[in-house]
């Protein structure tokens, strides 16, 4: 039952709600209760072939030889695919959004970097025969040292997990080995704080565990096209990824999806569609490639583990004046979506609290673990756990009730957030008040009187007078590898579609001049308490400065090219870019 608190924000609501608060009938539920909803596996094909993969038993190993001769003679085996059969056997998911370097093969050729990584695919007349075939593929492995811990992975001398990123860190925009946020002067504010509260927080990977395992069925259609029924959560992502890896125009691919047996983020990786379609292309028959339950749990990408270190500077009255984050996302062996999750995370810092000095260095780290991917709020969920556990720790240190501490530090409307956006529509104060009421916690008069709509803005709405910046983690000579601009070195092979020769990577970026730092006059000053009179709002939302968190744009292939592409814009994903 939804309870409406009509006393809150009454002037902002008209309560003329058509859907909220009323029962609604799902548009797809009749299919669900009659068993007629068309999930990907609910399409029957005569002569369906089954694809199963030969997978690495090692965390990290060189592939010396793959011997398929015995497997090819196994009953029912139609064909065996290796990486050489994949027209463009290297991809990164977000290359379709022009973000990141291709780093992951569909079928590994020379090296595996996580346990369960596929190295060959057996196509057979039944699933059981495909399993028998898989068991008869002989792979000669040369085990390599592996690393399973994020901080060990970035120590000098650690095994290189991902060849595209030899320092085991994702390189943001070709410029920084971490995502950086700087707002105010944390070091100075920590020196002036009454308490320093530190915390280390570790999250485990979490499997999405949908009841329907990930999979796809592909079959030849008329006119040289291929149909693909898929469980994907990201139909056009999967379509674009398949077209890229198979080097075929997307007009030859007919994707049908939209009925997903639970995804929770775990069905965006687009691993099944390209392989099922490739198998259908090379056999001329319908082919199904799906995880079994064991693969879903062991090989399917989970929510990645995260490790966070937080350092807070707190005044005796509970005001948090500085918060520093150091975060490590365990991306596993390849990037998939972890680099993007970190951008989301950093845009969310320091949580829903007005803290005048914030700094964050967040690393996307490669380890020899299962690659991580999306799951329900990824990028936010983990760091929120760290932030809220830290808030309780701070409350304990200053002797305040945790709810009082949250109400005191919560965003008020008009406050400036660390990623340089104005806080609007804030409601944490009100939520905390309702929680206190429900739980029978007696709040102080000040906390009861607090409101998200008063006490914000003014000095709290202005950018810090000084922001301490640094070039730590600056990388020279790296490329952001634009797929869209065709500047990414791609290992394209002869393909059914007209291939494009890989262009040379752009020249190393010349170091951009840093903007002159401003005088550190107000560094570390705590914000006025929420009750203090506001001295006029910051300049309105008209001119939003570019976030200091974003490094300079990657250089275009040439100045003439850059000029053609028009004005510099801010993109949440890839920082500053030209359109």
């Amino acid at each position: 039952m939804i309870e409406f608190r009509k006393e809150f924000f009454a002037d902002e609501r008209d309560d003329d709600l058509k859907e909220i608060g009323r029962p609604t009938i799902r548009q797809d539920i009749e299919g669900h209760v009659t068993g007629r909803s068309p999930f990907f596996d609910d399409h029957l094909f005569e002569g369906l072939l089954h694809v199963r993969c030969v997978r690495s038993p090692h965390h990290h190993a060189r592939i010396r030889r793959i011997d398929t001769t015995e497997a090819e003679r196994s009953p029912g085996v139609v064909r065996i695919l290796t990486g050489r059969d994949v027209p463009r056997n290297l991809n990164t998911l977000l290359s379709l959004l022009d973000f990141g370097i291709d780093d992951e093969p569909l079928l590994a050729e020379s090296r595996v970097a996580y346990m369960g990584e596929p190295v060959a695919a057996v196509i057979a007349t039944s699933e059981a025969r495909a399993r028998d075939g898989v068991a008869r593929v002989r792979v000669e492995w040369e085990e390599l040292p592996h690393v399973l811990d994020v901080e060990e992975a970035i120590r000098p001398g650690a095994p290189v997990v991902c060849e595209a990123y030899p320092t085991n860190r994702f390189i943001y925009h070709g410029r920084y080995d971490h995502q950086k946020l700087r707002f105010g002067d944390v070091e100075a504010a920590l020196r002036g704080a009454d308490h320093i509260v530190e915390g280390r927080y570790q999250m485990s990977p979490i499997e999405q565990a949908p009841i329907e395992t990930c999979g796809a069925i592909a079959a030849p259609e008329e006119n040289g096209r291929f149909v693909c029924y898929t469980s994907t959560q990201a139909l056009f992502f999967s379509l674009g990824t398949a077209a890229k890896m198979l080097q075929t125009p997307s007009s030859r691919l007919h994707f049908i999806g939209g009925t997903v047996g639970g995804g929770f983020g775990g069905k965006v990786d687009s691993l099944h569609e390209p392989l099922a379609i490739l198998a259908a292309m090379l056999t001329g028959r319908p082919c199904k490639y799906a995880f079994d339950r064991e693969e879903e749990m062991q090989v399917g990408a989970p929510r990645g583990a995260e490790r966070w270190y937080l350092t807070d500077g707190v005044m005796g009255d509970g005001r948090i004046v500085a918060r520093a984050f150091r975060g490590y996302f365990d991306s596993g062996a390849y990037t998939r979506l972890s680099s993007y999750a970190i951008i989301k995370a950093v845009g969310h810092l320091p949580g829903p609290y007005t803290i005048p000095n914030v700094a964050a260095d967040v690393y996307c780290v490669y380890t020899n673990r299962t690659p991580a991917t999306a799951m329900r709020g990824f990028g936010i969920t983990g760091v929120d756990f760290a932030i809220e556990a830290q808030m309780d720790k701070v409350a304990d240190r200053v002797g305040m009730h945790p709810l009082e501490l949250r109400i005191l530090n919560a965003y008020r409307d008009g406050d400036m957030k660390a990623h340089r956006r104005e806080a609007k529509g804030c409601a944490l104060v009100e939520c905390a008040q309702v929680v206190a009421e429900k739980a029978g916690i007696a709040l102080s008069a000040a906390a009861r009187a607090a409101s998200s709509r008063t006490g914000g803005g003014g000095e709290r709405g202005r950018l810090p007078a000084f922001t301490a910046t640094d070039g730590k983690g600056r990388v020279e000579g790296s490329t952001s590898g634009s797929y869209a601009r065709k500047s990414a070195p791609g290992p394209a092979r002869a393909a059914p579609a007209p291939g494009r020769p890989p262009a040379a990577p752009p020249a190393p970026a010349a170091a951009a001049a840093s903007p002159p730092a401003r005088r550190p006059d107000a560094a570390g000053a705590p914000p006025p308490p929420p009750g203090a009179p506001a001295a006029g709002r910051a300049a309105g939302g008209g001119s939003m400065p570019p976030p200091a968190a974003s490094p300079a744009p990657p250089p275009g292939p040439g100045t003439g090219d850059a000029a053609r592409r028009g004005a510099l814009r801010f993109s949440s994903l890839s920082g500053l870019r030209r359109r």
Binding site: P23, H32, D41, S126, E212, T213, R293
Partner: protein, 158 residues
């Protein structure tokens, strides 16, 4: 591999098809008889998505050899509705008791078996009856409520 004919009653109709050695009832129903309502979730009897009724009792179709069902009576979610939806289906629709819908056919068959044996179950009895059926979307509460709701409707109508 030897093919064997298997004849059984599926949702009231006489049906027959060939089965292969080792083929389970789930694959037989789906691939040989074309009843796609039972779902594959784990293939190891852990998730309940393939629950069907065998001579009225709920079983996991992925753990039963197709040939052992010969001559017996199978009911699946595809056969629940007549001219109108079954009261359990209606209660699932109205109570938002499905999200992705993948566990729903198995969940419904477990609930059908419960209500036939026990038309007035307690909440605890409903929880026990669907205890072998996993759902990752709903958190189970709307499903439990829908089963209790259907029991109430069926009792009033009887």
């Amino acid at each position: 591999m030897a093919l064997k004919p298997v004849a059984l009653t599926l949702n009231g109709s006489e049906r027959a098809a060939f089965t292969e050695d080792g083929e389970n009832l789930l694959d037989f129903l789906r691939r040989r008889l074309g009843d796609l309502s039972p779902k594959f979730g784990c293939g190891q009897g852990a998730c309940g998505a393939c629950t069907v009724l065998l001579d009225g009792a709920p079983v996991l179709a992925c753990l039963i050899l197709a040939e052992t069902a010969a001559g017996r009576r199978i009911e699946t979610a595809a056969g629940l509705a007549g001219a109108a939806l079954h009261p359990l289906q209606r209660a699932f629709v109205e109570g938002f008791a499905a999200q992705c819908g993948y566990c729903t056919p198995g969940m419904l068959m477990a609930a059908v078996a419960l209500l036939r044996a026990n038309p007035r179950p307690t909440r605890e009895e409903v929880v026990a009856a669907i205890g072998g059926n996993l759902c990752r979307c709903t958190g189970y509460e709307p499903i439990i409520a829908a089963v209790l709701d259907a029991a109430g409707h069926m009792e009033r109508r009887a």
